[in-house]
Amino acid sequence: MNSETPILEIKNLRACIDNIEILKNLDLTINKGEIHAIMGPNGSGKSTFSKVVAGHPAYKILNGDILFNGKSILELEPEDRSHLGIFLAFQYPIEIPGVSNEDFLRLAYNSKLKSQNKDEIDPIEFFSLINKKLQIINMAPAFLSRNVNEGFSGGEKKRNEILQMALLDPELSILDETDSGLDIDALKIISQGINTFMAPDKAIILITHYQRLLDYVKPDYIHVMQDGKIVKTGTAELAKELEQKGYEWLKKID
């Protein structure tokens, strides 16, 4: 296996928003074929981490580097990072009035094709492609004609994120609390979707608060983030321990 080929390397990363430092000397390496889970208390910097990797303009990098397949992406625009194969499933997917889900998905897909100098596909071709993907997350085609996330239930929004992931086929997917607010059936569908999608040449980062998701999607590593850095790394067992003892327990053993 390619277990020693890193997709993402984060080195000594410090990042701030509005002059408040959120990430403080973060180090993390993710290899191909691996699923990592990042856990940690509220406000520890998990969502900031995901947005910084995706290139959100509100965050400023103070120090360190982010390498994707060995190359620094710090200078790249968010859409270029997306084209390279970095995907972020949003914790709160954004509603876009007046834009149909189908148009949005097709434009995203074609933008990626265009960045790879491939021919864009027409709406009819796209329709058959997206219909196959819809089955992965068990959604009806009517879902496509609605406006992006507008009036979607919490579960539908999260499923829409997974649909986009399946469509864009990224190498690295960061799923920011994709499990929060889901009922048990939706959680199962989404977990199945993630497992079907996962492949040896890909990597996934799950940001979550709960052990529950990790029962369905088995991570190779679990990291605990606290105050802007990784304070502990372990195997799947660590999540169970955390569930029982809470984050305070980690502070004590420090």
């Binding site: 928003i17 509005d18 995706a54 290139g55 959100h56 303009p57 509100a58 400023k60 625009e77 968010p78 859409e79 997306s82 084209h83 995907f87 972020l88 949003f90 997917p93 954004i94 876009i96 009035p97 007046g98 834009v99 149909s100 148009d103 949005f104 434009l107 995203a108 933008s111 990626k112 960045s115 406006n147 986009q164 864009l168």
Partner: protein, 486 residues
Amino acid sequence: MTNQSNKILNTDITKLVNQPYKYGFSTNIEKDIIEKGLNKEVVRLISQKKNEPEFLLNFRLKAYKKWKQMQCPEWAQLKLSEIDYQDIIYYSAPKQKKKLKSLDEVDPELLNTFEKLGISLTEQKRLANVAVDAVFDSVSIATTFQEELAEYGVIFCSISEAVQQYPKLIEKYLGTVVPIGDNYFSALNSAVFTDGSFCFIPKGVKCPLELSTYFRINEQKSGQFERTLIIAEENSQVSYLEGCTAPQYDNNQLHAAVVELVALDNADIKYSTVQNWYSGDNKGEGGIYNFVTKRGLCIGINSKISWTQVETGSAITWKYPGCILAGDNSQGEFYSVALTNNYQQADTGSKMIHIGKNTRSRIVSKGISTGKSKNSYRGFVNINNKAIGARNYSQCDSLLIGNLSNANTFPFISVQNSATKIEHEASTSKIGEEQIFYFLQRGISLEKAIELMISGFCREVFTELPLEFAEEADRLLSLKLEGSVG
């Protein structure tokens, strides 16, 4: 949302929306001009130059007298520098041979001008299904497809020509929908109007072509005072479109038009505007003052008048196309997209006056403001005590881009009988940083993202435009919003 990222977003969008104005050139041509300034003699001189019958001279003089007694209204949400009416040229016409027999006699420089604007007047290139009347400063240059239309009994010509050829129709209808003293600018227009279009659709005829007038202001000091009159007789149908551009000058030019529509029993008039006058530079210098009175009279039963406008230009836009729904079961519609940028100000909306029974009206207004611009919707819905069963639906949506633009809605509704149904919806939304980031994260560029959101926002209005012009409107908005990002 954070300040820092907003700054980033605003600069990107500013770059995106600040495309240079494409139609800012001027044409050098020999002109016949009446010295600037306005008095009774100038009014007489205009009438004389146009060889008008007595009733029209009297119409003008009456209007001038009325205008002298009126004050410029101040209720609109507009800031404007005072207009010096003595510093405006009221008549400017390209010099040409007396009577043009064909387009071959039109000054090639003029044909070129319109060609550059994308309006082809020559036989080979013109659109096959659109008849065009081209107005340059104060006069109509040419009208295409006149003979073809005449076979159907449709009259489509400049209003000056109509005054000569069909004085009875002019005398009967001119000023019946917008009376001389209706407002300050309509009074001014009635005194000094120089040209515009005239359409007459006889009983039972469905006009076989789209009719269109293209207005071009060229002279730096000139005002344009156009007058358009459309009459649709019983059971007739017509679709009409006007387009407007002007050169880029650093002073403000005045454009005060009056448009009157009359629909008799079962007649249907669709009037569309794509307005792209020069809007001034990014510091707010220059640009057209666009003060327009447009009104349709649904006098016949089951008649219908529909206004669609895409307003992207002008330093100031001040217009409220409306319908007087006098005939029973008559219908009025107003669909509008107004885009303002930099220091542009738009105060626009509609008036629907319900008089007949079971009259229906529908207002859909979409305002997009970016830069430091101001965009206001002002509407008036009046349901008369006799208008039993009347219905109105109004929808006003505002979209803000960036943090410095401004949107207002002033709906005024007056209902005088209880057997009516009124609905009003309003919304304000903003293209926010998080929405844009969502697009970007999915690999979609900023340009495409904004284009997609704007076209989604305007869809309801664009579908109302005639097919040939829906594309043009889409292009026009993209032009204003397209740019050099990345």
